[in-house]
């Protein structure tokens, strides 16, 4: 009835609609490749989507082999590789090498990525579902959705989440990267960020950067479904490997079910003694920057005199 009032017959209406759609389709056709563009860089692995399987990614860190890179007198190479490949903002160490105490007063080094917990407290508390498990069990963050409430950071019992307190200071090439939750580069101001198990590498069938970066081959990545893991050199049967080496998970009693297992040790495979006094060397950010320690003063545009150095903030 409405059509008649506007002097438009059904036939005319259909004709015009189809015509408009045709014109629209022609005009919008250049957008097709843009819309079809994959969210991640095209890679060889993408060519065979038929082989897509659900993974159960698991990391094993052999502490017998981890000497905190003190024997080669370098900063922790896993952290360093991670920082440089992901343009990790200054002050954050997505995989951090802690020096923890042994029973008798000696120490061991403990590389700590995000544990990608199966019962992840961070995922449970997120108010906007910005942090979630992907189908392979990796905990990811969508930085386009995160509102920066930091409830996940409060919930994480391992302090493995970091916040971009200001505009991250990144090298210019970081801006060329195409953002995706599996490759969160460039980092977004005001959002939470963390290790994502190098999901972008795993997707391409490559090893995570810390696994590749470790000169001692202490870090294994594997798939519990396939029951296989590798450190880039040897390939092991995962379940047997865990059993035979008395694997444990950090703070197992919390029930978070981390996907990262530790094999106890203190770097003995490379001759490190428990009472070795050498500390891990500090990692560095090749592109420099002030980090997140500099605070704006009362008149912040009058740089640099009005910015203050805040000590002791981690």
């Amino acid at each position: 009835m409405g059509n008649k009032e506007k002097n438009l017959t059904r036939r005319q209406f259909i004709q015009r609609s189809v015509g408009a759609m045709g014109v629209g389709a022609v005009l919008l056709s250049p957008l097709v490749p843009v819309l079809n563009r994959p969210k991640t860089p095209v890679s060889p692995a993408k060519v065979e989507p038929a082989q897509k399987k659900t993974r159960n990614w698991t990391m094993v860190i052999d502490l017998k082999k981890c000497d905190g890179c003190v024997t080669i007198d370098q900063p922790a190479q896993c952290t360093q590789a991670c920082i440089q490949a992901h343009f990790v903002p200054k002050g954050q160490q997505w995989i951090e090498v802690y020096e923890a105490e042994l029973a008798g007063g000696g120490t061991f080094f403990m590389p700590t990525p995000c544990f990608q917990c199966e019962n992840a407290p961070c995922v449970n508390v997120c108010p906007v579902a910005a942090t979630y498990h992907n189908e392979d069990g990796v905990v990811l963050i969508d930085h386009r959705r995160c509102i920066g409430c930091r409830l996940c950071m409060a919930a994480c019992p391992y302090q493995r989440r970091f916040f971009n307190w200001g505009t991250p200071e990144l090298p210019p090439e970081a801006a060329l990267a195409e953002y995706s939750p599996i490759y969160p580069v460039p980092a977004v101001k005001g959002t939470v960020i963390k290790c994502m198990f190098c999901a972008h590498m795993l997707q391409e069938g490559k090893l995570p950067l810390c696994v590749n970066g470790c000169p001692m081959k202490a870090i294994y990545i594997g798939d519990l479904n396939e029951d296989i893991a590798t450190n880039g050199g040897e390939v092991v049967k995962l379940a047997k490997f865990l059993d035979e080496n008395d694997a444990y998970r950090y703070k197992e009693n919390l029930g978070t079910q981390p996907r990262v297992w530790y094999l106890p040790g203190h770097g003995q495979d490379f001759g490190r003694k428990p009472l070795d006094l050498r500390r891990a060397k500090p990692v560095f950010w090749p592109w420099g920057g002030e980090g997140d320690r500099l605070r704006p003063g009362v008149w912040p545009w009058k740089e640099p005199g009005n910015w203050t150095w805040q000590e002791g903030v981690k």
Binding site: Q92, Y98, P121, A130, I147, W165, G297, V298, V313
Partner: protein, 453 residues
Amino acid sequence: MRARAAGDFRGRLESTILTPLTQSSRGYYALVLFLLAVVGWGFYAFLVQLRYGLRSTGMGDVVMWGMYLVNFVFFIGISHAGTLISAILRVTHAGWRTPVTRMAELITVVAISIGALMPIIDLGRPDRVWHIVIFGRFQSPLLWDIVSITSYLTGSLIYLYLPLIPDMALMRDRLAREASSLKYKIYSLLAVGWRNTPEQRHRLEKAIGIMAVTIIPIAISVHTVVSYVFSMTMRPGWDSTVFGIYFVIGAIFSGIASIIIVMAIFRKIYHLEEYITERHFRNLSYLLLTSLFLYLYLTFGEYLTVGYKMKVEEKHLLELLMLGKSAFWFWFFVLGGLVLPAILIMFRRGRTITRIVIASILINIAMWIKRFLVLVPSLQVPLMPFEFGAYTPTWVEWSITAAAFAAFILIFAIFAKIFPIISIWEVAEENELEVSPVVRETVERGLPVPERR
């Protein structure tokens, strides 16, 4: 209007309450200007924070929450004043409440509004706050907060407005001479055609009664879920089953202290000595003392149960609180916020009102500090093998905090110039009831008040 036997009382009441609405002293304008300046400065600080991000605060990856959330918990806590005084006392027919209810309800509305702003200021991406609406998931305790607080704000606004209607009608009738003025129009709009008919009165009483009953569980839920944001995590000090009630009692505790302070201020400035008497302060101080002891009990239980077992992280926290860097503030809270106020309230020597007001001020300062101690030291405890975290608020955080308190006072100052700060009709009615015990009994039994005299 009805002719009243106690017309004398009512006349005095109206003139005392309504005079400040038309006359403002120079001091008032000076205060408003000063408060506006503080709020403006806080706004500037917020702009700096928007521009440079949260790095302009003292927070870091270890202590990732700071003063904003302390203020949030504090203001939401204060907001419980309104509920307790108004709703609980109304439900229990405590007649002495009438001169106090309006102020208490106002504290609620203002405190929630300012409290609810704090987490938004604290967001890394305040521009994405609408994500909570479109992507919100109810598994997150933050969503519980939002639902609870918005319900509480809505409920308290209605609960503040309903008893205002007869007073609005009074203002409208008084302004009838200048029927064209904007003021008259606003008051007539707000009076929604109130003519004080028995039917209208019945409906109003009923509506207020329903709201009073509804708002009590909402209020309790609010502070419960505020605590759940913390106790749904595994942090030392927060990982506690008693946190819900601990926060609720803390809120009622600081809420009563706030209403006593507000009462004392308005009593002094507006010369309300006839209506707000020593009896009100004394009655409220009994409630204050009760909640003080409850809070003391819960605090004791909370620290004893974790201190007895000394789990590593809890041990670190207790050391930090009781012996370490935060020890001064912790013992200030215990002595200055619990012990000293209890002594001030219990031992009746000197002037009652002064004693109670000093106790209330101490309590509110100590409770702000206590909220700081609940939040920050728990976050300072390292969960991984590293040093304790540090937190020193920056000028931005202090400015925004100052602005929040200034805004609280400012809204009060402005409200007190537009609306009567004491519920005139309720006080007048209560006065009549006190005159005639027969009527009082009728009302308390829920029977309609006979229109006689």
